[in-house]
Amino acid sequence: MYRYDDYDQRLVDERVAQFRDQTRRYLAGELSEDEFRPLRLQNGLYVQRHAPMLRIAVPYGLFSSAQLRTLADIARRYDRGYGHFTTRQNIQFNWPELAKVPEILAQLATVQMHAIQTSGNCIRNITSDAFAGVAADELIDPRPWCEILRQWSSFHPEFAHLPRKFKFAVNGAKEDRAVIQAHDIGLDVVKNDAGEIGFRVLVGGGLGRTPIIGEEIAAFVPWQHIVTYCESILRVYNLHGRRDNKYKARIKILVKALGIEEFRRQVEAEWAFHKNGPSTLTEAEVARVAAHFVDPAYESLPATDAGYASLLEENKPFAAWVKRNVRAHKVPGYASVTISLKKTGVPPGDITESQMELVADLADAYSYGGVRATHQQNLVLADVRQSDLFKVWQSLRDAGLATPNIGLLTDIISCPGGDYCALANAKSIPIANAIQERFDNLDYLYDIGEIELNISGCMNACGHHHVGHIGVLGVDKNGEEWYQVTIGGDQGNKAAIGKVIGPSFAAAEMPDVVTHLIETYIANRHEDERFVDTVRRIGIEPFKAHVYGNRQTEKKVAHA
């Protein structure tokens, strides 16, 4: 992973000093609430229901065992013993005291971490593929490019007060695991016919109140020019994005209003002026950054470990976990392990301090000290020998981290919702837990197969509900919490926004609603067809009929 040099370290140290002084001036009354707000937000600090919420950056989801141990220590000392991984591959704490935040940031800086630009109307933490560098389907490693863009965007003086937040995602594999089509800028690292590296650039995607799939603004921007190209997009957006209405301020609204051709023309006009300027990348700089992401010293191993193969035969629970939570690796004899943070009854994405320490120990013992956060709110040990998988599984199982449900119905993406978030219209976690309880039978879960269920407690769509195969959105109706359901959403290469199936439901109805959706799928599916593909094929009507048909019947029964 990327390791700081003296310059990187100085910047985070200076940030700690700056924020310490800003917090002091705020507490002394020299900075007003309004003046302090954007400053604290750009340091990941929200004011929430219980206390400030601190969101710490995990750049493109990559971190180390030492960093995870520090997060565990922070959870213990400043919070209530747990943290929450988010769909932006960050981690957040819900209970720190404002006055202690500078101390927390100082502690983070000792392990090359920070909370820079994890919130606010600036360029946010860049997300990427959690399997970058190890995925068998990877074409180009996106990590060096993420780091180059991270450095370019950190404290960018021109883009610290954009019309709204701005999110990048970078993908370098055949399968898009970074949801690049739902980002303000989505970058696909590609090679052209001549074998040169460049970027396919998408712009104007995003979820939230107005969900939009991004459009291609450039089919191929040569790598030398990616910084100046992005800078051109940001400048057009900074000057012309709407500032009169925060709900219409994202770049997607500007792109829609102008049309992609006109937006492209404006960006190209801007780019023409600084295309070959001083920010044009050089081979030496790319090589310097890329040197941080070379493979660990993998051993030469047989493609299949004999002991592992026999354990798979003998031990059903282990085999079930391997089937769901272990992925093929580009290097023979290795595998990537997804650690499920989706045990029934635990808020999706939550992890305790002792679990963090266990994961850090496992990373040191079995995965070259590296850990990754996925945008599905799980963790990954990317480089585990097959021969170690059984030991890793046993340790994870003992810690409640081996739920064999990755990619299944109970692997729910969920925002913290109304239990924690001041923006939420409705709770998310109890809905997730109720659905997990309903589908706790593993055989049934496996029979249902691959499906993504995403829950957001409000329009802001932190739970990415629009791109869930089943999406659940918390809405407020006259002070009561209701849930609107969409189906047919998808992330990845065929990203799509789900369609609303009809009027919203009360919380207590949600497990039944999901059950009826699943029943409809099972009654209609072709062999090996995923839920979302059945929805694509037969449309939403049969699902709707079953869900609302049952619902009316139940009501009649109830009134009889």
Binding site: D6, Q18, R288, H292
Partner: protein, 176 residues
């Protein structure tokens, strides 16, 4: 006399900012003697008369792009960009365009809701003069705020004040 930060020093400054009050028009508003900054609309209505004075500058509102004043830059004693709220970041790009695209090298002043926590960003985008709203800072606070100009000693990316990114101007470490 109001104080401004100019080239990283606190200085007295006599330049008056003319803002149109309700009922006043660009054509008829009285322009005081001495150095002034007038709204773009006033300049556009009376460019000839004002240019002859030699001490007139123009201030742009956040929505008024740099291109609107580009042709007149040689005639101006100063250019300012107004920040109606410090969270309105258009002025950063406007300043960058004035300095780079249009080659303006005279005084470029940030006015309006100009706060110390943004001082370094203003300077990096090409402002040489910073004028917070009257009364926002005491003289002592303004002196203390000079420290904010050095919040980040070695920024990563190129900007107007130093167009080369860090990697192009420093020998950086390679992975261990």
């Amino acid at each position: 006399m109001p104080k401004v930060i100019r080239n990283r020093r606190v200085e007295d400054d006599a330049r008056q900012i003319v803002r149109l009050a309700e009922g006043e028009t660009a054509e008829t508003v009285a322009i005081p003697a001495g150095p002034v900054l007038v709204p773009l609309a006033v300049w556009q209505a009376r460019a000839e008369e004002l240019a002859a004075r030699g001490d007139v500058g123009v201030w742009l509102e956040a929505a008024e792009g740099a291109e609107l004043i580009a042709a007149d830059l040689p005639k101006l004693a100063a250019v300012a960009v107004n920040f109606p709220a410090f969270t309105d970041g258009r002025g950063y790009s406007t300043a960058a365009l004035l300095r780079t695209r249009y080659g303006y090298s005279g005084e470029l002043r940030a006015i309006g809701d100009v706060l110390r926590d943004q001082f370094q960003a203003y300077v990096r985008c090409g402002f040489d003069t910073l004028q917070p709203n009257a009364g926002r800072y005491t003289d002592a606070q303004l002196e203390a705020a000079l420290a904010s100009l050095g919040d980040f000693s070695v920024p990563y990316q190129g900007a107007v004040d130093e167009p080369r990114p860090l990697w192009a101007r420093a020998q950086r470490g390679v992975a261990a």
